[in-house]
Symmetry: C2
Subunit: 378 residues, 2 copies
């Protein structure tokens, strides 16, 4: 019986993780989780999975929930996330938080020797080197949950690092893949939220449309698989069937495929080294691959540059993007202004070569607050 | 330094194996080999690789070669193949013989505890159960060299047997893939020998056109990977880029790809568990997959039936096919008569449930001789 701690339970990845757990009650038990502001979802989770420790989003929720569920230990907010992952029982932390809030809980979980199943890209984008050092020090496992990284993991596993020539991350192209840069001037939020292949949270769906998501994935892959940026390629593959490929120096290429169902990579991380049994099978049809167009998707190109620069720069890019997407979701800025904001903040930031965790978190918050203040009032 | 014994050196797989060896002289040394009737090729091999023991095809070649290469131990014919693989030094036997002649040397090699890199499908088609029992008894390794089986091996390796849902072998469709059954009535040998993707020996090129090759591969896969016939599928994939796929019960599919260069699977078997370094890289473009048409390719359908029946039937099918293809290559019969002959001999043969190796070899020879006698005189 594996103990699971789930951060971001009520989000898209969170709910799908709970689905996997609920279908395999003999394998997994939810010990702790963080909840959101939707009472119905929260109560469903509490009643169904009976976790021992739960972090609420706001302090004001505390009294009500403590009254309703007297056997649960409740906590709340940012500290609540830490309380959950540092709970005394061993287990695996599934980090399905969205955005930079995911970083600190990952670090604290590692310190208590819990393995990490990571859906929160920002953890590695902001502090990949620091996280990897903690992983090594505490000898825990770090499993990716992104479909692309899960696929890459499966094509890389048991292979020798020196045999790898490069890896390729596929990109569906997002909601606006058939539009030109000119067309993008007039797109709106509803259009941006319609992903052709995947049903995902709002933030990642917008990141897919700007291709920032692929940029974050490239940086994530760099840290997960210890590969140089020139060994990490992206390719347009509109069917979203092949999620990742590894090229070996002997001319072999291994690819991993599946239908677009996040429960597959979630289960792979939770069951590893075993596999789950799913009633999800893919019928092979035609697959297309097109070279990535970096002029069309400048944020992806920027991500490579920022990744190579390292230091504080990935944090800056990520913070600016997170704030900008938030503003776009609140209809405060246009789609193309997301790019403008990210480029601007990356340009004005001075490099810090080996930032501490404290510096990373401070700069992330400073940039996000600055951007909100500048555009919120519009 | 790995010792290599190469049977069928002068054939297509043989020469490509020598190419791999010659490019990795620090890794491999050719200790023994069998040669053919082309003196120029034979002398090139003897001079370049300086093997210790060599089997000639005919007794009449002996005197000449012994005079020219006094330091080499020469032998000849069927017994010569056995002499080579039972040579006293340890090593890997690469069996690149064509046809049923490959069976006995494989068995004798296993008995002297040599690992086998197998390009000779007939070994497993005719006597898979017997070969596997010897492999187990003598604890040797059996590595596939066929591109499809090498690909499947790479997608199956390190996975648990119980996690596998099915495997898929791809088929280019062969020389006549765009022709209807009606069109096949008028095709000739030259057309049949033009494979769209692969440059291979004559026998396997004809087997690709009739799809018998895929049938033999299905039976081979059954024995190599211990999978039931309903777990082995074939699919039309005209690009010959994806060579094999494994479907797992959790919804994941792993595929292995490469350019159409047999040196890649050859090197994989020889270097395993390491990988070679090759200057062969594939640019991803569009990949197409179409369901197999069993009415168009009746020999493939027959292979499944014969495989399920087991016993002596795969030997009968293989023997009839081998003789028929030989006759077609000598322009004694038409293309469609290959199928007629195979179906006829499978139909008239009585089943032997657990044939001995002796029975298998006797029936193989009896059927081939009968067919030659019946059609040779035309």
């Amino acid at each position: 019986m594996k103990h699971i701690y789930l951060l971001g339970s009520t989000g898209s990845i969170g709910m799908q993780t709970l689905d996997v757990i609920s279908k395999h009650k003999d394998e997994f038990r939810l010990i702790g989780c963080s909840l959101g502001s939707d009472d119905e979802k929260n109560k469903y989770i509490l009643n169904t999975f009976k976790p021992e420790i739960v972090s609420l989003r706001y302090e004001k929720q505390l009294k009500n929930y403590e009254g309703l569920f007297p056997n649960v230990r409740f906590t709340w907010g940012d500290q609540g996330l830490i309380d959950v992952v540092t709970y005394e029982k061993e287990g695996v932390v599934v980090n399905a938080l969205s955005g930079s809030a995911g970083l600190n809980p990952t670090i604290e979980a590692i310190k208590t020797k819990k393995d990490i199943a990571l859906a929160n890209k920002e953890t590695l984008v902001m502090a990949g080197d620091i996280v990897n050092a903690y992983v090594k020090k505490h000898q825990v496992k770090l499993y990716p949950i992104d479909s692309e990284h899960s696929a890459l993991w499966q094509t890389l596993d048991h292979e020798s690092q020196s045999d790898i020539s490069k890896i390729v991350i596929t990109a569906s192209g997002g909601s606006f893949r058939d539009l030109s840069r000119k067309d993008l001037e007039n797109v709106d939020l509803n259009q941006a939220l319609k992903h052709p292949n995947w049903s995902m949270g709002a933030k990642i769906t917008i990141d897919s449309a700007t291709m920032m998501n692929k940029g974050l994935e490239v940086i994530e892959a760099h840290h997960l698989f210890y590969l140089a940026y020139d060994q990490i390629e992206t390719v347009l593959h509109k069917e979203s069937v092949v999620h990742g490929l590894t090229y070996f120096k002997d001319g072999t290429i291994k690819a991993s495929m599946s239908v677009s169902d996040m429960r597959i990579p979630i289960a792979y991380a939770l069951f590893y080294p075993k596999r789950a049994v799913f009633d999800q099978s893919l019928t092979l049809s035609n697959l297309s691959f097109k070279p990535m167009d970096y002029e069309r998707f400048p944020l992806l190109k920027l991500a490579y540059e920022v990744g190579k620069q390292g230091g504080i720069m990935p944090t800056v890019m990520n913070a600016a993007n997170e704030a900008a997407v938030h503003l776009f979701l609140k209809k405060k800025i246009s789609f193309l202004e997301i790019e403008d904001i990210v480029f601007k903040y990356v340009e004005i930031q001075e490099q810090i070569k080996n930032p501490t965790l404290k510096q990373i978190i401070e700069i992330d918050q400073k940039i996000q607050q600055e951007i909100y203040q500048a555009y919120e009032k519009r």
